[in-house]
Structures are given as structure tokens and as C-alpha cells.
């Protein structure tokens, strides 16, 4: 039982990370039909901004922003990624506003490669150990459970972010505009919704969520390389698709489903198959999509809009 509860906690924590990643991707997909491959590099950039650039490889990298007090680290990293996301929007996706979805996706691939190579140039290709918030890896003993503090923080922060985001979308004037634009962009523009502002807000939120993913996952992973964010974004994508494209609650539930599936496979697969855990996870994804092509939580409007 204790073992099972421990597994559930792991699943919830990993699921939180994927859900946040999926939300950042799903938000842009909902409004722009943009499958933003560069989301992974938003996450990587958040992580790399913590360490000193242009240093020789050392076992543990020297912290830069990461050395500051956490109350300064969090807003600074968020600001960096938000600026990056807004710049991407301004200089790449805004000029392509009327482009088709495949063109947008190719554009996001190029952004992804440019950012990845910039990271390579500035920080090198070697993996870097990053010792962020060491205290968070401490474990709390409770009723026989060993609970890493970071898991509690991850789940709590994710819950707070999701509640705030849904309140923002539900009640603020920007939220109503964003939701209207996500449903019928052309109609929203016709009614006078300022497209640039709505899309800017969506990119900023997407950047904020990418920063959150990086800051929450880094203390658990401990090491980063130039492609560190890509798998997190990939799982985010899969979560969006599994959840049902165009639905934010679907993206969140999709994220948790994948977190649960991967954690369970990790625990219950026979040891000789564990190295192939992700293959099993993706096989499950294919099964889900074959059985429910519109995802687990489809929206009625998806089919005609894509």
C-alpha cells in the first residue's frame, strides 16, 4: 500500500510537469493552430539562464541567476522566457499570421533549431550539472512514505498555476477575448478583438508555463544539456493530442494520464523491459488514438476547424 501511494505521488508529480508543458503548447494551438515545437527550447532557455555562460565544462556548473534568492530567481527566469516567447511571436509568427498550419509548424521547427544551436554556441554541448535549490530534494518522512519536498512543491505550484490560469481565462476581459479567439479567430478579429494583444498574451502565458516547467523539473533532474527541454515538450504535445486538441482541460488531463502511465510502467514493467519504458508508453498513446481518434476528452469543434 505504501509502495502504491509512493507511486501515485510520483505519478502526480511527473503528471504535473507534463500538464504544465501541455498547457503552454495547447494554449497556442487553440488560438493559432500553431504546434509550437520551440516550446522545448523555451524550457531549455529557462534552465540555461540559471548558469554562467561561456565557462569551461565542470562537473557542477557555476550558478549565475540561480545563485540569487529564489524570490528573485523565479521572476527573472519567467521574465527571460516571456521576453523570448514574445520576441518569437513578434519576429517569426506575426509576419506569418496568415500562413497555414504546416508552414507555422515548419517555422517553429526552425525557431527550435536556432535556439538549440544558440544554446550549443553559448554553453557547449556537454551536459551540465545544475545544483538548483538543493534543499528541495530533501525527503519528508510521513506514515512510512518518503516524500521528496520537490514533489509536493511541484504539485502545489501546478495546482496554483492552473487555478489562476482558469480564473484569468474565465473572468478577465483578456481571458474572454482569448477564449473567443481560440474558438473562432476570424470572427473574434471581426468583432474587434485586438489580435496582436490576444496572441501576445497567449505567448507570454506559454513562456511563463515553460519557465515553471524548467524551474520545477530542474531540481529533480539535476543535469541539463542543449536538448533538455525537447522531451518535456514532446510529452506535452502527446498530452495535447491524447487529451483532445483544442481543449485546455483535455491537455491537463492528457498530461496527468501520461505521467501516470509512465510512472506505472516504470514500476510494474519487468526489469528487463524497463529500459524500453517509453516505447510502451507511446504504444499506449497509439492505442488511445486508434480507439478515440479525437482524444480522450474531445471538443465538438475540433474536426471542422483543423
Amino acid at each position: 500500500m505504501t509502495q502504491f501511494l509512493q507511486t501515485c505521488l510520483d505519478a502526480a508529480s511527473l503528471g504535473s510537469i507534463f500538464a504544465l508543458s501541455a498547457l503552454g503548447i495547447g494554449l497556442l494551438f487553440g488560438i493559432l493552430r500553431l504546434a509550437n515545437v520551440a516550446h522545448g527550447e523555451f524550457i531549455s532557455t529557462a534552465a540555461y539562464s540559471l548558469i554562467v555562460p561561456f565557462t569551461s565544462v565542470a562537473a557542477a556548473s557555476e550558478l549565475f541567476i540561480g545563485k540569487w534568492h529564489w524570490a528573485l530567481v523565479i521572476p527573472t527566469v519567467c521574465a527571460i522566457v516571456i521576453v523570448l516567447a514574445l520576441a518569437t511571436e513578434r519576429f517569426v509568427f506575426r509576419p506569418l499570421r496568415s500562413a497555414s498550419a504546416p508552414v507555422l509548424m515548419m517555422a517553429s521547427f526552425t525557431v527550435s533549431y536556432i535556439l538549440q544551436n544558440t544554446i550549443l554556441m553559448v554553453y557547449g554541448s556537454q551536459a551540465r550539472g545544475v545544483n538548483l535549490w538543493y534543499g528541495l530534494t530533501r525527503q519528508i518522512q510521513w506514515e512510512g512514505l518518503r516524500i521528496p519536498l520537490i514533489q509536493i512543491v511541484t504539485i502545489a505550484v501546478t495546482a496554483v498555476l492552473m487555478v489562476s490560469l482558469s480564473l484569468f481565462l474565465k473572468y478577465s476581459r483578456f481571458g474572454i477575448e482569448v477564449r473567443a479567439a481560440a474558438e473562432d479567430f476570424r470572427m473574434a478579429r471581426y468583432l474587434g478583438v485586438r489580435a496582436n494583444r490576444v496572441i501576445g498574451i497567449a505567448f507570454a502565458i506559454s513562456g511563463l508555463l515553460a519557465a515553471a516547467v524548467a524551474l520545477l523539473y530542474l531540481p529533480q533532474s539535476g543535469t541539463i544539456n542543449y536538448a533538455w527541454g525537447s522531451p518535456l515538450a514532446l510529452y506535452g504535445f502527446v498530452a495535447v493530442v491524447v487529451g483532445g486538441m483544442g481543449s485546455l482541460p483535455g491537455a491537463v488531463l492528457g498530461g496527468f494520464s501520461i505521467g501516470i502511465a509512465i510512472t506505472m510502467l516504470q514500476v510494474y514493467l519487468p526489469p528487463e523491459l524497463k529500459p524500453f519504458r517509453d516505447a510502451f508508453a507511446f504504444a499506449l498513446v497509439i492505442v488511445v488514438l486508434v480507439v478515440r481518434p479525437n482524444g480522450l476528452f474531445p471538443t465538438k469543434h475540433v474536426m471542422k476547424r483543423v
Binding site: 474572454i176 477564449r179 473567443a180 474558438e183 473562432d184 471581426y190 468583432l191 474587434g192 478583438v193
Partner: protein, 254 residues
């Protein structure tokens, strides 16, 4: 002094939504040709004609959705040719859509509210205005319901409310009574008849239901084959031979 009065008079004369000599060609075929129409503040004009007469094309020209091949578009004396639909709307010309195109996942209130917000109102003012309009079109009891779950006729009324939410001076209604029962039609007619007084806007009414158009319109504009065949009061139009033979030809022949 006289000059000032004359100037004011000229400004008033120019106060209208109008097209002059408008022709729209698709691949060389004219959908409408040489149509001239104007809508003055607070009047209700009926735009009628058989299917394919070019009514919706004309509405698209009047709202900036279709750039005409020839002709002029003016809003209160300003040349509006080539303006985007959003800019035409900001200038005070709103429309409803045949296909509705509501935001199905937003509530009834939010659908009207977003139009008011987008027109520049604060969140609170937009909410109050939207609620007030919805009350008047008879949707006051369904504010929290998702628009996508409304019955068809309620969706049409919500579409009208959304068009009104930005406080337009001219509102173009594209077949608002389509699919409505007689009782629902009466209800809709009461709403449309009240628009000039309650909302201070003029109405261009595109409608197939003769009873609705004839009893609501101050003036009628009849299109057939993309051309204007008759204009005038409902009585004048109904007495016109061209109208009878072209528009109701089949019925008259019987």
C-alpha cells in the same frame, strides 16, 4: 450663419450607410451590378429578392467582407472602400450572420460581452450592456448557458444581440427569421421594430418571410439577378408590376 446651417445640413444629408453603382464580379460573372442603396439613421429598410439575387453579396460589400469590382461605399460621408470588416464595424456597421457563427463554448452572456469588450468597453460596462441587451431580446434567463447548447432560434437572437453589443449605428440582419415558427417570428418582429428607438440604430433587414419584411420595413429594396428592380414603400412595391412578375412571378401566374 447661413453657411453654418448649410454645412450642418450637408453633414446630415451625408449621414448614412450607402453604396453607389456597386458591381461585384466573381470570375467575370456579375453577382450584383450597378446597385445603389442607402440606409439612413434609425430607418428600417427591407432587402428582398429571390435566392441568388445578390442580397448576401450586397451585405458583404456593405460590411467590408467583399470589395466591390466597381462602385462606392460610404459611411456617414466617409469613403470606406477597401476598409477591413473590423474597421467598418468600428465605424458603426454591425451585422448578424446566416450561419450564426457564435462562440459555442462561451456562455450567452460572454458572447455578447466579448463584442462590447472588443469595441473598447471596460469589463464591467461590457457585462452590464450585454446583460441589458440580452434581456431585451428575451435571453435574460439564459445568461450562463453555453451558446452552443441553445436551440436554433435562440442562437439567432443571440447573434442579433452580439451585433448590437458594440452600439452600432447601422445593423444588418441576414435572414433573422429563417427557421422560426409563426409565434417566434412575431416575437422577433417586436424586437426588430424596437431597435431604432431602443438602440438608436438603423436596420437593413434581409428576409424571405414577406409578412415580416412588409410589416417592419419603412422602405424596400428589391433585387433580382443582381440588379435593383424596384425601391419604395411596402405599398408601392407590392403594387409594382416588375416586383410581382419578377419576385412572385410563379404565384401571380397561377
Amino acid at each position: 450663419m447661413d453657411a453654418k446651417i448649410a454645412e450642418a445640413g450637408a453633414a446630415r444629408a451625408a449621414e448614412a450607410l450607402s453604396v453607389a453603382g456597386v458591381t461585384v464580379r466573381f470570375d467575370g460573372l456579375a453577382a450584383i451590378s450597378g446597385v445603389t442603396l442607402s440606409l439612413a439613421p434609425r430607418e428600417i429598410v427591407g432587402l428582398i429578392g429571390p435566392n441568388g439575387a445578390g442580397k448576401t453579396t450586397l451585405v458583404n460589400v456593405l460590411t467590408g467582407f467583399q470589395r466591390p469590382s466597381e462602385g462606392r461605399l460610404e459611411i456617414d460621408g466617409q469613403d470606406a472602400l477597401g476598409w477591413s470588416p473590423a474597421k467598418v464595424r468600428r465605424a458603426g456597421v454591425a451585422r448578424s450572420f446566416q450561419a450564426g457563427r457564435l462562440f459555442g463554448k462561451l456562455t450567452v452572456l460572454e458572447n455578447a460581452q466579448v463584442a462590447a469588450i472588443a469595441a473598447g468597453m471596460s469589463q464591467r460596462a461590457a457585462r452590464a450592456r450585454a446583460a441589458g441587451i440580452l434581456e431585451q431580446v428575451g435571453l435574460g434567463g439564459q445568461l450562463g448557458q453555453l451558446a452552443g447548447s441553445l436551440p436554433y432560434t435562440d442562437q439567432r437572437r443571440l447573434d442579433i444581440a452580439r451585433a448590437l453589443a458594440s452600439g452600432p449605428k447601422y445593423v444588418l440582419l441576414d435572414e433573422p427569421a429563417a427557421g422560426m415558427s409563426d409565434a417566434e417570428c412575431e416575437d422577433l418582429m417586436r424586437i426588430i421594430r424596437g431597435l431604432p428607438d431602443r438602440f438608436g440604430c438603423a436596420v437593413l433587414l434581409i428576409e424571405h418571410n414577406m409578412h415580416v419584411v412588409m410589416s417592419l420595413s419603412d422602405r424596400l429594396h428589391v433585387l433580382d439577378g443582381g440588379r435593383t428592380i424596384v425601391t419604395g414603400t411596402p405599398a408601392e412595391v407590392q403594387a409594382n408590376q416588375a416586383f410581382l412578375s419578377a419576385y412572385l412571378g410563379a404565384e401571380v401566374a397561377e
